[in-house]
Symmetry: C2
């Protein structure tokens, strides 16, 4: 059999399997092409298209009308068609080091870049990503360093009366040594699930790299699903997936806070972990930040390290009216008094200065100031975005368990 | 804060994060809708589109011109636009139980279904999937049974001089008990990587369900990356990803067969496994089937169970000409003689009767017949597709370690 025939045979092996059809064609297109000066060219073959745009967080934001008002949204740039129906756009200036997401819009319809194998799923949306090297991009990249393991497994939640899926990072060497490790519980936001911190948060890459650089202690990172109405991420559960927003027919039998003890118990009876306050941390973003504040207050003397990213620790967002908010605040402040009295090593609040929750974070801190509750505040630029949450994780993890 | 405001705030939390934009809109659309009679309706909101089609393996195949000749490819069906710019197509007849893949084509451009959160990545392609319940669909679904764990970790390959990524399924209870387990090495095809059997092969679901039904013994399943030019799946390696087909600048320093000993050593020194021939199986699809035949011949007295799915055990596809093919065959037949003499419990060859490799499988078996090499042959319908490989796994696993 001649080489040319072999190639045909192998390509057919791909082509006749439906799901592999995308291996056909497009292979001559390089997209995105990251040039030496960190400008980037995007390309898409779309000979029938009338208009091709790219949108993503590498573009300046634009004020955009939404059903909820005018907000800064990622901008768009138009690609120009050249010969062979290939559309192209090159950024006018070099991009700063970062992990960027983008998608094409062909005549208004969103599509992924068929030339880019790097994709990250976020709930129902899969977007292409690319990393501009440097700092912090290198921290988010798979580097030639020892790698930890990432396991998807299931734990029993007697409180929620079901098995639930959970993602666990164990540091390099965990399987071989006999040490015990500290544990960091890392919680996602309302738009996420037990895959969010691994996929968009780049937790495994950040931790592998921080540990290799001697910047963070080896630790176990536990990433549960924070929506008690679901047992797992979309497609990973025996139940239908219920969107996080808007509710659904099944009401959770308990809250994330009330069922969190099941996770603690599972981790401490299944992993070689240090089981004291000095070796437990909890942090999360947005809804997960509110969870972290609430959990650390609800489980007294359990966590020495608390991280609240892009969320108010005193979370009155769910209150129906001012009275309910005032009542919640009063009760929560009592818990904070106990937490203050019990003591802790670090209570770290981080928020972007354009975050739509910014003012609520400031308001929370005012109340905490009034009661003499000691926290550390880290203010970054920009808003409620993964770029900030990756930065916060990269800064928070090195402060733990020292 | 009123409820309506809260909803706006939460939606904004999603919207202002670029990658979560897809959470906007479309929520009124149900697609695919699986009706009680197992007909299915697909829907897409695309008010600007001129033509919307759906293509997928639930449709009859159509003879299609390709650069490599005329082949049966998945057919397409046209959606019809109704009010509000929503396009719709309902299958004319019920679908048989199966896991199906599909994608939309909007004016010729391929897009995923924004209303369906169930998606599977296959190399560079992400397609939507849905499961019609029954047999075998239920076997591929996450059911309310004990679940095994799936770990992505890295092993050292001294032969390939690098760390390589590997996916490992451990059966329910593995972490808690003190038993030793048999090991099944499961290899992907030329279009796959260490994620393929988990994602498209539904290995975790099939094994969880088979074990729960008492049909298969609890076992560890090891899924390595079979392309020695890559260390990991796209985006998971510190090196650039080299397409499996067409080669690339880096030549692998050794073949999958020659470096397989590193995997055996890693597994047997890191997991509680039974370390004898009677408790080792190797199987794979297409290229992985050829790997399985070659590995079981190259490592004498190592495997009692061999599975060759949709591939000829005597693989002369890589030969440049007839002479090279004849020489390879002669050498391989010598190894098979040794394997025959050493003995084994099961050598299982499975192929679809429309597979483009069908004739090469028949030719291999003729040669094995001539030398009195005992195998079991399972012929299915259809060709070189994941539907068949899921069936083969579901049939092969129950025969192991009895």
């Amino acid at each position: 059999m001649k080489r040319i025939t072999l190639l045909a045979v192998i390509l057919l092996a791909a082509a006749t399997s439906f799901a592999q059809q995308a291996l056909w064609g497009g292979q001559a297109i390089v997209s995105p092409e990251i040039h030496d000066d960190n400008t980037v060219t995007f390309r898409l073959r779309a000979p029938k298209a009338v208009k091709v745009e790219v949108t993503g967080d590498f573009l300046p934001t634009q004020p955009t009308e939404t059903p909820y008002g005018k907000f800064d949204m990622p901008g768009t740039a138009e690609l120009k068609e050249n010969k062979d129906g290939v559309w192209e756009y090159t950024t006018p200036a070099p991009l700063a080091s970062e992990l960027y997401s983008y998608t094409f819009m062909v005549d208004g319809q969103r599509i992924n870049d068929p030339a880019n194998v790097a994709m990250i799923r976020d709930v129902a949306s899969v977007t292409n990503v690319f990393i501009i090297p440097g700092n912090p991009g290198d921290l988010y990249s798979v580097k030639d360093v020892p790698h930890g393991s990432v396991t998807r497994r299931w734990y029993d939640s007697p409180t929620l009366k079901e098995q639930r899926r959970i993602t666990i990072y164990t540091p390099p060497g965990y399987e071989k040594d006999h040490q015990t490790y500290p544990v960091f519980y890392l919680l996602h936001g309302s738009g996420g699930d037990e895959e969010a911190w691994i996929a968009l948060g780049r937790t495994a890459q950040i931790m592998d790299n921080l540990i290799a650089r001697g910047k963070a202690k080896p630790m176990i990172i536990v990433m549960p699903n924070g929506h008690t109405q679901n047992a797992a991420a979309p497609g990973e559960s025996s139940r239908s997936y219920l969107p996080a927003m808007g509710g659904g027919p099944r009401q959770a039998v308990a809250s994330m806070e009330d069922s969190f003890g099941d996770i603690l118990k599972f981790v401490e009876s299944n992993y070689r972990v240090k089981k004291d306050k000095a070796n437990r941390a909890v942090a999360g973003l947005s809804m997960g930040g509110m969870h972290s504040a609430a959990i650390s207050a609800q489980y007294p003397n359990t966590f020495d390290y608390v991280g609240v990213f892009s969320a108010p620790p005193i979370a009155t967002l769910m209150a129906r009216d001012k009275d309910e908010a005032a009542k919640y605040t009063e009760e929560f402040l009592k818990k904070l008094q106990v937490q203050k009295k019990n003591g802790f090593k670090l209570y770290w609040i981080a928020c972007g200065n354009t975050d739509f929750l910014y003012q609520s974070v400031i308001d929370s801190m005012k109340k905490m100031d009034e009661m003499g509750f000691k926290y550390t505040y880290r203010e970054s630029g920009e808003g409620h975005i993964w770029k900030n949450w990756r930065i916060y994780l990269s800064e928070f993890a090195p402060m733990l368990f020292k």
